[in-house]
């Protein structure tokens, strides 16, 4: 089994006619199994977790575990504002095979979601769940941001083992690394932070881009570890337009369309998200071509 490090895709959830398509999930995982990806994140932001029912979530964990090579980590996104629901879903996910839980910062009462509330929330959860907790900080979706001093305090909890940080703030990422305990895993949350993160002490990344370009993401990591910084940066720079297209610009629908172009099953996002327009598809194709990932 892998350590909590390296490149992991927050895998998309395949739907056919709006329903889970487990065979398509298998198709994708079979392809990813052939790479050096260290694990799979189920029910992350790119997995459209918020659109899934409780039962669908558990099915996804179970099937991902079943299809994944035995050395791959299974990380389940199980957090919600409710501590009770979070604990329950985490433990059920553990029973279905999840090795780690990725737990979103609570965010509904935004003005109260500060140091004290985060400490209470994550401590209550981590005290009770059967698998280790990874904090998930993603301000663009939650509207809240967790501070370094809070993460530092939480890193002392024996069952809180890392953070996925989806901000692009290099200072914040450095603070997470420098103020937490030595073996606490700071994982970058977007491919545009791979270079900055790995050259500053991040040990891994959970990256939308790894769904479609796992080899390139892994290569950036390897180049940095070998000290080939310039080459790593060049490769990352080549990937940045693609990364923007499958995240900020076109979101999950864009990521899924790119998967379709690149030999994976992408398919449609679940309603109320929409597929790309014809024009957006053309632009996405152009971006993939320019990056070298796609050739007709």
């Amino acid at each position: 089994m892998q350590k909590l490090q390296g490149i992991m895709p927050p895998i998309t959830t395949p739907f056919v006619n709006g329903e889970l398509a487990i065979d398509k999930l298998q198709l994708n995982i079979d392809k990813w199994n052939k790479t050096e990806l260290t694990g799979y994140v189920v029910m992350g932001s790119n997995g459209e977790s918020v659109f899934l029912t409780h039962e669908e979530k558990l099915t996804l964990v179970e099937m991902t575990k079943k299809f994944a090579s035995s050395n791959k980590l299974i990380i389940a996104g199980t957090g919600s504002d409710s501590i009770k629901e979070t604990i329950s879903l985490t433990n059920k996910s553990a029973e279905r095979g999840a090795n780690f839980s990725l737990i979103l910062t609570p965010s509904f009462y935004k003005s109260e979601m500060k140091h004290e509330a985060f400490i209470k929330y994550f401590t209550a959860v981590a005290d009770t769940v059967k698998i280790p907790v990874i904090i998930y900080n993603v301000p663009k979706f939650t509207g809240v941001d967790i501070e370094a001093e809070t993460v530092a305090a939480l890193s002392e909890h024996p069952n809180i083992v890392g953070i996925k940080n989806s901000s692009e703030n290099a200072r914040q990422n450095n603070e997470f690394i420098s103020t937490t305990r030595k073996d606490f895993a700071v994982l970058v949350g977007t491919a545009s932070m791979l270079y900055s993160g790995f050259s500053s002490g991040s040990v891994g990344g959970i990256l939308a881009l790894a769904n479609i370009a796992p080899v390139e993401c892994i290569q950036i990591q390897n180049l940095i570890e070998k000290g080939n910084l310039t080459e790593a940066l060049d490769l990352q720079n080549r990937m940045i337009p693609v990364n923007k297209a499958v995240t900020a610009k076109y979101g999950v629908a864009g990521l899924k369309y790119a998967m379709d172009l690149l030999g994976y099953f992408g398919g449609e996002p679940r309603s109320p998200l929409s597929v790309l327009s014809v024009n957006e598809k053309l632009l996405m194709k152009e971006i993939l071509k320019k990056s070298g990932l796609f050739t007709e």
Copy 2:
């Protein structure tokens, strides 16, 4: 049974030692039953809905229905980003006695949550649920805002009957009123908008303040309907500091503490929210005294 109008509190959820305290709920509802409140909103933002489990939610609807006078409306906050979960929870709530569903705008994928997505989401939900839908717009918690043209389009759906608008933007509220069909209920979402709303065509309000000052809220409405605008405005102005204290300033914890002071059961908010500090309690007491709501 009441029409969808008038003053309705988004009732707080009573906890003792962190668990639902149904006897305390009854105590509160018994008091509210003696007023002209037209209904009760269960599982609104002030009901700490996001901290409740699925089962707790259904219990709350059932018990609220049981304790409420027969002429009171029961409105259940049943929305989440998942269309499937929203439909399921709405229909189960209907079975337990809910007359209307209050459905939050989906909000996780903020940049995509615009006109088209809202149309798809609310249409899919309203097509299927067994009780009428009230849209719930609360930008300060969701980080998204629904536009008048979207609400106007949705108001054409036979099963979408109103909106609770928790913004304080008078222009927006007027647009909701003037661009939707005649019998579409625009409800203000905070007591500070009572005067502006009722004098512009709003027919009701779902107000945190109505938990502790139902009589005053109803009086503002009555004064406006009788044309006593100055008196209505004066009363509202007297309530604004209290309203701020139980919403923006101290949140649910503040509202619950005020309930304790005023003869209701407030109690503690659920973790990770915290009770007020000693100093905050003193300040809250002062604010209530100044408003005339509290006398020692």
Copy 3:
């Protein structure tokens, strides 16, 4: 001379080939002089004040005073972050004929621009300038917002006589009215707040829309004062799409194009702003037609 009340346009600054066109200013003012507008605001946000040189500003004040009917108020937008510059420009404007100064909240150091800084700034300015001060609160441009308790404190200064509030927040506007001294003038800053403001105690408005629809804006005020609330609201609702078009949607360029269509001189905004595109012009024309302001 008028009192500080009623409807006043923040007049646009006419440019021909990027330079001040004083004859065009005269043309516009001649038209406005025939209405019951109570005054003219020079160097407001719609006057592209930030694009003008010191000398151009003084010329504008002088020429506006010269062209205006003797009973019209001249209000000069003279505020900047620098207390020294603000005092200097205000006093020079007073010498050229300004009756009041409209002074923007300082805003560069956003996180420090709170109660204490606003008190220091406006007190220092008001202590020294020769004409009365109107506070100008416009969060969408400055990124800062002034609180009611600050305005209440400043309203005690003998030389601070009012506030132009360009937010659409009805609660905030009510607080400004109810917490300041009786003769403090709360002026709404956008036509969409006319109804809400005048029916709650605002005594005037400084409105982009008054550049092109002075008669309609004045009529809304008159209707409210006569107690014809429904008619006033209907008229305002008819104006809201136009108001949006000349502010949030198309900005100064839109306002100037609408002026051109309606018999005023609008012309081009100064660089780096751009004129409307052909398509935007068509849409603007449609909006004006629908409102009844424009007929071909």
Copy 4:
């Protein structure tokens, strides 16, 4: 004369009793002259530029040039929304000795300040001014952000030679570097981005921290250039609490107090900013002690 690279402080403006204190400026510059700082930025955000009069600004440029060692670059912050004023102040600053102009993105009409407006603004300015232009991007003060494609286009202008980027977004900084022409200088705008910037192709930094810790800032640069990445990162991490204290936490008042503690003249910020409270001073002293910069 230095090239546009290396570490440059945006020097604070010394005031005594609210007026320029040129002798204190000399005292500070004499100290900085002994370091390997490559230049001085006058009238930057930390120079309280927005509080200065036109004449004071020119005096500051002249005196800084006079006191600076002959090999130091003089960069003058001369931008405002007005193209005319910006050109005028830039050329007058050039006459007083400025080698470069640092020109803030225009920002008043926030919703219009996008690609096209930035291209028009910076092209008009750079076409006319006598010294090279450095773009100044500082979203936290302006509320606008310039995109990489805009900077890339502007980098083709022969008189636009660099950008000071005060955001902490590593992806954005990398895009500025990778999409602009080879000799375009991307300067980081805060010490927390030194490591990330220099290890990714930034050639310099304009840093508040360089006012009080020039040697440490220069050392971080030197360590990275020698390939001692770990040591560089350690040193930066040690500086981050200080950097936060003199920027986000306590602002210019904090920076000036730290200067007083460390042998420079800091003094009071200009009104409406305030000096630190007694308690804030104690906390600042603690932070400086912990960093090793200050010993009693």
